[in-house]
């Protein structure tokens, strides 16, 4: 079942074209979004998060067309988003921070207290729930960010570089959480860490220079690599092979 579909997406900043004629269809499960820095991953995530308006193209999230105000509002209620970098209000506690976003996503008030605690517990931050955000470490801030993204049990969860700042043990726990979330939601994880994709993603898409150059199973990406390609692991070799192929074809 397709719950996210993009057709002919085009986004530019000024004259520079960041995404060019991009088509993508995703269903329930964890999807890895790979690509070199500056390929357009974050721009794509921001369009999906309804923060950035595309110049052209048709975007449907969870069956709702974004061009229509009512559809946009319904889609936003079921959306969870963790940007690559985000600030915080220093006086907020973790609980207030997560609660604020439960409220902004228009959850029914009776469900909020439980949902907030559950989200904080799922990221392993319950013992720090009443600490102010300014007293948290970088990894804890990122986990608080993940908690606000999952508080409304989103149907579409967008995580931009979620593992940045997490230590290896937390990364392993986070991947388990990802697999659990991917059971009944569309989860899109943008990352430059190829090993995250192998460990947690059911499908993987590769973006380069504003275009989608590969989409398929992690095994298919691995199969694209040959011994001569650069990279320390099979999937890294597949990644460089696909990128090289796409760049040669573009010439």
């Amino acid at each position: 079942m397709t719950t996210l579909s993009i057709r002919g997406l085009r986004v530019g900043y000024g004259r520079r074209l960041v995404l060019d004629d991009l088509d993508l269809e995703l269903g329930v499960g964890v999807h890895g979004l790979l690509g070199p820095n500056g390929a357009g991953k974050t721009t794509l995530m921001r369009v999906l998060a309804t923060v950035l308006r595309p110049d052209r193209g048709d975007v449907r999230l969870l069956g709702q067309p974004l061009a229509d105000d009512a559809g946009l509002r319904r889609a936003r209620r079921r959306l969870g988003y963790l940007p690559q970098s985000f600030g915080f209000y220093p006086r907020f506690t973790v609980r207030e921070f997560v609660e604020y976003f439960a409220w902004l996503r228009e959850m029914p008030p009776a469900e909020i207290p439980l949902a907030v605690d559950r989200a904080i517990e799922r990221v392993g931050l319950l013992d720090r729930a009443d600490d102010r955000m300014k007293h948290l470490s970088g990894g804890m801030l990122r986990r608080a960010g993940i908690a606000q993204a999952i508080v409304n049990d989103p149907g579409l969860l967008l995580l931009d570089e979620p593992t940045a700042g997490l230590d290896p043990e937390q990364r392993v726990e986070f991947r388990a959480l990802l697999r659990e979330l991917g059971l009944d939601a569309v989860v899109v994880v943008s990352t430059h860490l190829v090993e995250d994709v192998v460990a947690a993603c059911a499908r993987v898409s590769l973006v380069d220079n504003g275009r989608l150059v590969f989409t398929g199973l992690p095994d298919e990406l691995i199969a694209a690599g040959e011994d001569g390609d650069s990279g320390d692991s099979p999937i890294e070799r597949g990644y460089t092979a696909v990128l090289r192929g796409a760049r040669e074809a573009a010439r």
């Binding site: 921001r46 998060a49 309804t50 923060v51 950035l52 308006r53 105000d69 946009l72 509002r73 936003r76 209620r77 959306l79 988003y81 940007p83 985000f86 600030g87 915080f88 209000y89 006086r91 907020f92 609980r95 207030e96 609660e99 604020y100 976003f101 409220w103 902004l104 996503r105 228009e106 008030p109 009776a110 469900e111 909020i112 207290p113 439980l114 907030v116 605690d117 517990e121 319950l126 729930a129 009443d130 606000q148 388990a176 697999r179 659990e180 059971l183 009944d184």
Partner: protein, 260 residues
């Protein structure tokens, strides 16, 4: 999670109540541990509603885990207000201007000309509002802009917070200077703030505030004494407010959602 998973038919039989007690217990023991199999449970809609209602009712009766707060309107308001640091800044500015007004009243109008208060008092809510949202000043803008409640709605809440703090100062300034009826002073605050919000749907909020304040300064400081006229034109201010609110309504999807 474990490697063992329940067969779909076993799970379906469990949901229909078709298993004997001993089997049902072992299924439940596994479900406690395995989110994958829990997700495989398919309930019909009435049962799903029942489970949902039971969960909500249970939470109300159980002692809250940790120190969860009940979702009261009061708490919502408190979280909302502490979420707008700039609204607190507006409080501080308001106190400063109130102090200035009292000073003016005590030392007499010779040292503190009335036009200075006229310039400052209605500018306070404009500055406070412009600082309370937008990609440059709200550290959570990127997150807030993607939520259903995050655009015009949250901006209006914050504006209300700023106006609550600053409008009384304007009334006070009006009384101290004795320029025009005191009621026109909060109306000027409202009109200039609404103009800033309306303009803020087209350009950065800070730029919008700059433009509005620039025009305001021109009016107040104009050499031919226009400031004496503005305080006596209540209907004009009302018209300005209405026009700005109309623009705001038409462009509501753009307010507070401009990308950085």
């Amino acid at each position: 999670m474990t490697d063992f998973h329940l067969d779909a038919r076993v799970l379906a039989a469990y949901v229909d109540g078709g298993l004997d007690d001993a089997d049902a217990w072992s299924v439940e023991a596994h479900l406690d541990r395995c989110a994958g199999c829990r997700a495989g449970i398919v309930l019909d809609e009435p049962t799903e509603r029942l489970v949902e209602a039971a969960a909500v009712a249970l939470v109300r009766r159980l002692p809250p885990p940790g120190r969860a707060r009940p979702a009261s309107t009061w708490r919502r308001l408190r979280v909302l207000l502490s979420a707008a640091p700039a609204a607190r800044g507006a409080w501080l500015m308001a106190v400063a201007v109130a102090g200035l007004a009292f000073l003016g009243a005590s030392v007499g109008p010779a040292t503190l000309p009335p036009w200075l208060l006229l310039l400052l008092a209605p500018a306070l809510p404009v500055v406070g509002t412009a600082l309370s949202y937008g990609p440059r000043t709200d550290p959570l803008h990127e997150l807030v802009a993607g939520t259903p409640h995050g655009g015009l709605r949250i901006v209006l809440w914050r504006t209300l917070a700023v106006l609550t703090a600053t409008a009384p100062v304007a009334v006070l300034a009006g009384t101290v200077t004795g320029l025009g009826p005191p009621a026109v002073w909060p109306l000027m605050c409202l009109a200039l703030t609404a103009l800033t919000l309306a303009l803020g749907s087209l350009v950065e909020p800070a730029t919008a505030a700059g433009v509005v304040l620039g025009m305001w300064a021109l009016v107040v400081l104009a050499p031919f004494g226009a400031w004496a006229v503005v305080v006596d034109s209540g209907p004009v201010w009302l018209a300005v407010t209405t026009a700005a609110l109309a623009v705001l309504y038409v462009r509501r999807e753009q307010v507070g959602r401009r990308a950085a």
